[in-house]
Structure formats: structure tokens, C-alpha cells
């Protein structure tokens, strides 16, 4: 609608726009320019503040040089590597989102309201009955056998608990069983009654709640001892252990070789098909490169799995060679930790030696990572030593002395911490926005396409390859681009909350925070880091666009 004179229209528009435009200029457009300028100066809050206002030095591209190949480059590239490593979770998460979306759009629950209610009612009833059943079956009676000292001893052996009677333990187990039945039954009942929306909501919950509270929960889940992850994982590993022990080692070597061979065959086949297509002009160079990428990933995975399975017997049967830790040693550990907290260099050195002598490898690494940021603020060190104490404490009793496969000490171990973050990231993101986008994409595919494909005789998998996947290509393209951009910038919160930057988990965003807001307050340098990250993002996005536009046109 174009009404009234230009002057009048401009004035009206300005009235509507002004509040937002002001904020936009001050907090978005302005800072971009400002940031570019800052990155070319030695701006630091220690030098330029209300108390000491030294003249600002224009340093040209020194900051960039420092980051990319100068004094800071060691940290920068290290953290960049960590960032890239954490981004391994992105393709996994995207694939998972697609699978979830496809599962959700399968009409696996009744569609009509009547049958929905009916099935939910039945499932609910069964659940209540099952809970009752679990209660009847598992609730211990005041059986004399439980009061019996012998039974108590059995229970103690099994659980390592002495202050609970067998009866109490049985009661708790009974409660847990009822709870488990109730949770399972609840999921089934609501799933049948509400259908897709219910599961969608459940899958979306982690994304919705992703924040400090969620990371604290996962920090607890990942505790080496007493954490849910290892509580679930350790029995699995033990079973695996037993299996490995029961199977003759040469079988494992054979398995490894077979996996290698299969992977090799697959890779060769993929490359040959790709070459063939390239020759017949059915696909471009980019598509071929993408294929090579897939081959490389597949090959690496296959090699790793094969290698790992061939190694299994040795790993499982190899004793760690550490003697069980005594109570006296435990005492000295806590003294050592106090020494660490004191910050006294000579005490620290002694403490490290002592700890090294008695502790298994992970503790050594923890101690190292503990000493590195000794300059960091006192609060952080305190919380850190505390974390070490509780976690290290966990590794002193029970689990360390054994042999065979041990569940990882997730957030403490430099080997596993990034993996822990990836696993959590996948859990957080798999049912989030990407899944919703795929759901929308799937529902937008005209059903006629499937009808035509099935008339043409395409199988379910062929329909996925020839209809679903190409139709979803624009969605995938969008998701990949947005996830890459997010992944390069992300990770700060997780690292800050869950590892406090230890265990080799620092990412670029954390680095920027560290430069700008701790210690030296080097705002100029931090700005430069921001722009280098922006450069990476632009390059990656450009690559995505090139590959994507070729692949989506296939």
C-alpha cells in the first residue's frame, strides 16, 4: 500500500522503526564495526579502564598473526582441533534426527480418537496391573531368611553395603522395579493415547532444557562412580569381558580381519561406482569428493572397529598392575589435595609425585590439568580440587584395582572427556529442532510420489533413496549449514560447567572467553579470535553451499 506523500510515509515508517533501529545500531550493527576496530588494537581492560587510561595502540594485524602463527597459535590450534573434534557429533545427531523423524511419521499408533483412547485405556490398565504384580512378586515378606545373618552377608557381598539389612535392600529393589514398570507402562500408555505428539515432546525435552541445569545433571550422570552412565555401562562391559574371556582369542583376530575386509570391499565398490558416474557425467566432481569423504569415514571406522576387536582379548585380560589402595594412602591423598589448593609450588611438586606413585593413570592426568591453571582465580581452584577429590576418591576404591574392561572416567579423563561431551550433545540435539524440521519436510512430500514409486516397483529402501532423501535434500542442506555454524561457535557452556576447561576440552568459544574476561582481559585479541572464527564459518559455509548445491541438484 503506497499512500500519502513520501515525506509523510517516511516519518510514519521511522516512528515504527526507531525503537528497534536504535537498539540494532547500538547492539548489533555498531558492535560489528567496533569489533573489527578492536581486533586491530591492543585493547585490554587492564590497560584501558577508568583508573588507568593508557593511550590505545593500533597494532594492525598483530593480533591475527599472534593467533594464527605467533605466541598464541599453540593454544588456538589446539582449541580449534578440540572444536572440530566435538563437531563429530553433528553428523551423528543429524542422522539420528532423520531416523527419529521417520519413526515418528510412521503411523505406528492408532489414528482414530476412539481406538487411541481404547488402546491407551487398556495399556494403562495393564500398567497398573503390572505395577501391582511387581509389588506382589518383589516385595519381600518378613521372611526369617532375610532376618538371617547369612542372608545379610550375601546381600553385603553383592552390594558392598553393610549398613542395610537384606530386607531393606530387597524392599528398595522392589520399589525400583515398580518404578521401572510404571515408567515403561506410562510411556506405552501415553504413546498409544497421544501418539506422535507425545514422543515428539519427550524427544524434544532435552533440547528445551539445554542449559546450566541440564549440564549439571549430565555432570552427575558422568560421575565415574555413582553416575548413571557407568552404572549402566559397567555391567555391559563386564558381560563383554566374560564373553571375550570365553571366546578363544584367534576368533577375535579373525573378526577384526573380516571387518577390515568387508570395509575394504565396501570402500572399493563405492569408489568404483563413483568413478563410473563421474565418467558418464551423472554426477559432478563435488559429488565424487563427497563420496570420497564417505569412503574415508567408513574406512577409518572399519579400521578402528577391526583393530579394536582384534585387541579385545588383550585389553580385557591385561591386568592394570596397580595394587589396591590402602586407607593410609587415601589419607595422604587428601593432604596432597590440600597442598594443591594452597598453591605453594614446592608442596605441589611433592604432592604430584606422591599421587603418581599410588594413583592410576587418569588421576595423574587430572592432577596435571589441575596444576596447569594454577593462576586461575581461587574459587575455581577450590571447586576444582573438590571435584578431583570426589571423583578421584571414586577411582580409589573398588573400580581401579580390578582388571578387564573398565568404564571410562568420562569428564576427568583427557581421553574420554570430549567423547562424553559428544554423547551428551547427540542426546541433547537429536530430538530437537532438526527433528522437527525433518518432520515438517517429511509431511511436505506429496504422497503421490510414493504411490508412483511403488507402482514403479520401488522397495521401501529404494523409495527412501529415490523419493524421501532427495525430497529432504533442501532441509538437510539447511540443517547442515546451521549446525556447522552453531558447532564452530558452541561448546562454551558445556565446557565451563562440566569440565571447567580441563581434560583437554577447551573450545574456541571458551578460548575467547578466557582471553577477554579472565586474567589479562585482552579484548583486542579476543575480538581477533572472533573474526578468525567468523572466517572459518564463512569458509565452511561456502564449502557447504558448493557441495550442497551440487548434491541437491543431483
Amino acid at each position: 500500500m503506497k499512500v500519502g506523500s513520501v515525506r509523510r510515509r517516511t516519518l510514519i515508517a521511522l516512528a515504527f522503526l526507531l525503537p528497534n533501529l536504535l537498539g540494532f545500531l547500538i547492539f548489533t550493527a555498531g558492535p560489528i564495526v567496533f569489533s573489527l576496530y578492536m581486533s586491530l588494537t591492543d585493547w585490554s581492560l587492564t590497560k584501558h579502564n577508568q583508573f588507568s587510561d593508557q593511550p590505545l595502540q593500533f597494532v594492525g594485524f598483530d593480533n591475527y598473526a599472534k593467533i594464527l602463527w605467533g605466541s598464541e597459535s599453540e593454544f588456538f590450534w589446539d582449541y580449534f582441533e578440540n572444536t572440530l573434534f566435538l563437531m563429530i557429533g553433528i553428523p551423528i545427531s543429524i542422522a539420528g534426527s532423520l531416523v527419529l523423524a521417520i519413526m515418528l511419521s510412521t503411523k505406528c499408533t492408532p489414528t482414530r480418537l476412539g481406538s487411541r483412547l481404547k488402546s491407551a485405556l487398556i495399556a494403562g490398565g495393564v500398567t497398573v496391573l503390572a505395577c501391582l504384580g511387581a509389588w506382589l512378586v518383589t516385595t519381600p515378606t518378613m521372611d526369617p531368611a532375610f532376618a538371617d545373618e547369612a542372608a545379610r552377608a550375601v546381600m553385603s557381598d553383592e552390594t558392598g553395603l553393610t549398613d542395610l539389612s537384606g530386607f531393606q535392600v530387597a524392599t528398595l529393589r522392589s520399589h525400583a522395579a515398580i518404578l521401572a514398570v510404571a515408567v515403561l507402562g506410562g510411556l506405552i500408555t501415553f504413546g498409544l493415547g497421544i501418539g506422535q505428539v507425545f514422543f515428539r515432546t519427550v524427544f524434544y525435552l532435552p533440547t528445551l532444557l539445554a542449559g546450566v541445569a541440564m549440564f549439571l545433571l549430565w555432570k552427575t550422570l558422568y560421575r565415574p562412580k555413582g553416575g548413571l552412565v557407568n552404572a549402566v555401562l559397567q555391567p555391559v562391559l563386564d558381560t563383554l569381558d566374560a564373553t571375550v574371556g570365553a571366546v578363544p582369542p584367534f576368533m577375535w583376530y579373525a573378526l577384526g580381519v573380516v571387518i577390515w575386509l568387508i570395509t575394504l570391499a565396501l570402500c572399493v565398490k563405492l569408489v568404483l561406482v563413483g568413478l563410473d558416474r563421474l565418467k558418464h557425467n551423472e554426477a559432478g566432481i563435488a559429488a565424487f569428493c563427497a563420496r570420497l569423504g564417505i569412503v574415508a569415514t567408513l574406512g577409518a571406522t572399519g579400521w578402528f572397529v577391526g583393530y579394536w576387536s582384534a585387541q579385545l582379548p588383550e585389553r580385557a585380560l591385561l591386568p592394570t598392575g596397580l595394587a589396591p589402595i590402602t586407607a593410609a594412602q587415601l589419607d595422604s591423598v587428601s593432604t596432597d589435595l590440600q597442598a594443591l589448593a594452597s598453591g605453594d609450588a614446592s608442596l605441589i611438586a611433592g604432592a604430584i609425585e606422591e599421587l603418581k606413585a599410588i594413583a592410576p593413570v587418569p588421576v595423574e592426568q587430572t592432577v596435571e590439568s589441575l596444576v596447569k591453571p594454577a593462576t586461575v582465580a581461587g574459587v575455581e581452584l577450590a571447586s576444582l580440587s573438590q571435584a578431583v577429590e570426589s571423583n578421584a576418591g571414586a577411582s580409589f576404591d573398588g573400580y581401579t584395582a580390578g582388571e578387564g574392561l573398565q568404564a571410562p572416567e568420562w569428564l576427568i579423563s583427557a581421553t574420554w572427556a570430549k567423547t562424553a561431551l559428544i554423547v551428551m550433545g547427540v542426546w541433547l540435539g537429536i530430538g530437537g529442532g532438526n527433528m522437527l524440521l525433518y518432520l515438517a519436510g517429511l509431511s511436505n512430500i506429496p504422497p503421490e510420489l510414493y504411490e508412483a514409486a511403488s507402482i514403479d516397483g520401488a522397495s521401501g529402501w529404494q523409495q527412501f533413496i529415490h523419493v524421501t532423501w532427495p525430497q529432504l535434500a533442501p532441509t538437510t542442506f539447511f540443517i547442515v549449514i546451521m549446525s556447522t555454524i552453531g558447532g564452530l561457535q558452541g561448546g562454551f557452556e558445556q565446557v565451563m560447567i562440566m569440565t571447567q576447561g580441563k581434560a583437554d576440552t577447551r573450545v574456541l568459544a571458551y578460548y575467547q572467553y578466557e582471553l577477554a574476561f579472565t586474567d589479562q582481559f585482552q579484548l583486542g585479541l579476543a575480538s581477533a579470535v572472533g573474526w578468525v572464527m567468523t572466517g572459518f564459518i564463512f569458509v565452511l559455509t561456502a564449502v557447504n553451499f558448493r557441495l550442497g548445491s551440487q548434491l541437491t541438484n543431483d
Partner: protein, 380 residues
């Protein structure tokens, strides 16, 4: 109540996309004017310039005595019915109709009186508390009409108001709009692409194409004396048949001829004496003969019994319509023409059949798409 005057109105989008060119028209007080033309012909743009929704690039628009080029829509004393009705979805029917009156700070009793009257008139009194979502297409249409009526404006503007209705509802609503206009006698400008609507509703019709006015006349005037080939093809239930040829002079008068070819007979029609005078100067030049399919008969009786009005065509397909049949015929040059004649069984297909033309509806045009009507020039 007001007359509307458009004087050489122009609309140019951007630098050089001309949407409307030198549109001039005097609309009398109480007149019902229909702008008709294919989509993209500039008819909606013209209407929106009258409404004040589009800037006027050049020329002047007057409502009453006032030049309204720079007057805001709300101050033009007009009401408009949109193609998609533009009912406010979050307001009830009553509020939709009352909105404009409320904004004009009319007393509440007066608003309620007017809305109820209009609702009675349109038979939507029982719907007043519903929201547009709960209405059928026809009901929404009535609400949109009602919203325009309650304002009692001096000009009604309709922008394709019936095109979202199904065929049956369109016919009844059309009649209703006509009755409403009879009763209210408000100056009305009505835009449509449907020539039937234009013919049935308008006091006068403005046929537009390519941003230009092709003809302004009464419905029958446009039908009987199409100003050019485009109007002839556009107006009328079935498009005109055309055949290319030339005028030849013979002893017994002027004849329009097209040569025979492909073993099909040629065309040879004698021009009646009342048009011959106008055509004499065009003898020998390439021209187009146009006639309406309905102006054909199998039998040379009554008005078809004239010398030289016989045309022999190779019949191809017969489509029975009930009272009539449509016979699609082939011409020597490969094009097709239609004959709408009285129905009968066993009409021969694939044969050369003689037809007779009603010479009142036979026109001679200059050959291009907008070639002038030479035999029956339009009134000016």
C-alpha cells in the same frame, strides 16, 4: 452519491513497467461500471488507484468535484469489496461490519441500527455473532458486501468479488448485487475477468487489455459492435470465429474470400450493402472475417436467408449441449472454428457441410490482434 471522473490516468511501476495507460472515463452518479479484461490488463490497478491503494503516476481522479489523487483512502468516502473478502478473522461478523463506523466515531445506536439493517437486507442477521472462519464462502461474501453497505459511501468498489464462489452461487450472488444496486443507486465500479458478469451487471462495460481501454459501451453495444478484434474475441459466451482473407470486388458487391486448400473448400461471403460503403477502400488488403458461433445455422431460413452468406466447413467434432450442439470445424488454413446450431442427432462428421451466417453478427477487422472493426465501428 457522486460521479467519478478519471482523466488520462497512468500507472507505471518502477521505471518503465506500464500497468495502465491514459485511462479516461466519466462515470455518472449512480452508474454501474464494469471493468473487464484478461488478468494483467490493468483493471484492478485502475480500481486500486480510485480507492487510493496505489499511487497515481499521472492524470487525475475525481470523486464528486474533488480531485482525490493525494487523498487518503479513508477520506475518499468509498467502500470496497475484495476478492478474498478481507474479513478481519479475529472479529465477529458484527464487528467486521461495524469497524469502519466505529473508527468514524459514530454513536453506538446508529452503528447497531445500520449493521442490523444491512444484515437484514443481506439475510445474514443470524450470523452476526460468528467469526468469518465459521462461515461458508457465500456467507463471507455477504458479510463483505454488508461491510461496504453500512458505510453508505458515495462509491462502491468491487474487486472480483465473485471469483472465489462456485458457479451456481456466483450466478445467484450476481443477481443479488444487481438488485442491491437497483435499490441503493450508489455509483459502482466493478472489476471482473468474467465477461458474463460484465454483461449481466454493467450499465456500461469498459473492456481493457494491455493497460489500455479497448472499448467503453453498454453491454449490448459491446456485443454488437466490438471496437476491435480483441473485444470481439473476449466478449460473448463463445469467442468469435476468425478467418484470414481479403475483400474482393465483384459485379454483385464486395466479397470476403479465403482460398481453398488441402482439398477443403474456401470461404466466400458477400458483404451486406450497409457495410459495403465502409469496406470499399480496403479492397485487396489482408483482412479478418469474424463472426459469432451462435450466428450460424444449417438452414437458410428467416434472417439466414440472404444471398452470399453460405460458408462450407469440414466438420470435425460434435459436442452436444442440450438445446444446441457445438460443431468444431476445420478451415483450409488449418485453424478451427466453432458453429453453435440447433441440436439434432447424427450430425455428419468429417464431411463438408454448408452453414449460413447471420450477417448482423459478421464483422470485418484489420488483421492484427487489436485490429479495428471496419464493418461496424464502435460508437465513440
Amino acid at each position: 452519491m457522486a460521479q467519478v471522473t478519471l482523466e488520462s490516468v497512468r500507472k507505471v511501476y518502477g521505471k518503465d513497467v506500464v500497468a495502465v495507460e491514459s485511462f479516461g472515463l466519466d462515470i455518472a452518479d449512480g452508474e454501474f461500471i464494469v471493468l473487464v479484461g484478461p488478468s494483467g490488463c490493468g483493471k484492478s490497478t485502475t480500481l486500486r488507484m480510485v480507492a487510493g491503494l496505489e499511487e497515481i503516476t499521472g492524470g487525475t481522479v475525481r470523486i464528486g468535484e474533488r480531485v482525490v489523487n493525494n487523498v487518503l483512502p479513508k477520506d475518499r468516502d468509498i467502500a470496497m469489496v475484495f476478492q478474498n473478502y478481507a474479513l478481519y478473522p479475529h472479529m465477529t461478523v458484527y464487528k467486521n461490519m461495524a469497524f469502519g463506523l466505529t473508527l468514524r466515531k459514530m454513536p453506538r445506536e446508529e452503528i447497531s441500527k445500520r449493521v442490523n439493517e444491512a444484515a437484514d437486507l443481506l439475510g445474514i442477521s443470524h450470523l452476526l455473532e460468528r467469526k468469518p472462519k465459521a462461515l461458508s464462502g457465500g456467507q463471507r461474501q455477504r458479510v463483505a458486501l454488508g461491510r461496504a453497505i453500512v458505510r453508505e459511501p458515495s462509491v462502491f468498489l468491487f474487486d472480483e468479488p465473485l471469483s472465489n464462489l462456485d458457479a451456481k452461487l456466483r450466478a445467484t450472488t450476481r443477481t443479488e448485487i444487481k438488485r442491491l444496486h437497483k435499490r441503493l443507486r450508489t455509483t459502482t465500479i466493478y472489476v471482473t475477468h468474467d465477461q458474463t458478469e460484465a454483461m449481466t451487471l454493467g450499465d456500461r462495460i469498459v473492456v481493457m487489455s494491455d493497460g489500455k481501454v479497448q472499448q467503453v459501451d453498454t453491454p449490448l453495444g459491446v456485443y454488437k459492435r466490438p471496437a476491435n478484434r480483441f473485444v470481439g474475441a473476449f466478449v460473448g459466451a463463445t469467442p468469435m470465429n476468425f478467418v484470414e482473407g481479403k475483400i474482393e470486388s465483384a459485379d454483385d458487391g464486395l466479397w470476403f474470400t479465403a482460398p481453398a486448400a488441402n482439398s477443403m473448400p474456401g470461404v466466400r461471403i458477400r458483404m451486406t450493402d450497409d457495410v459495403s460503403g465502409r469496406l470499399a477502400e480496403h479492397t485487396g488488403k489482408p483482412l479478418t472475417l469474424g463472426w459469432r458461433p451462435s450466428a450460424m445455422s444449417e438452414h437458410a431460413e428467416g434472417k439466414f436467408a440472404i444471398f452470399g452468406n453460405q460458408i462450407t466447413l469440414r466438420t470435425a467434432v460434435v459436442e452436444p449441449l442440450g438445446k444446441n450442439i457445438d460443431v468444431s470445424c476445420e478451415l483450409p488454413d488449418g485453424s478451427h472454428v466453432l458453429a453453435r446450431i440447433d441440436a439434432r442427432e447424427d450430425f455428419p462428421v468429417g464431411e463438408d457441410v454448408p452453414f449460413y451466417l447471420d450477417m448482423d453478427h459478421v464483422h470485418i477487422f484489420e488483421p492484427s490482434e487489436f485490429g479495428r472493426n471496419l464493418s461496424h465501428p464502435a460508437r465513440t
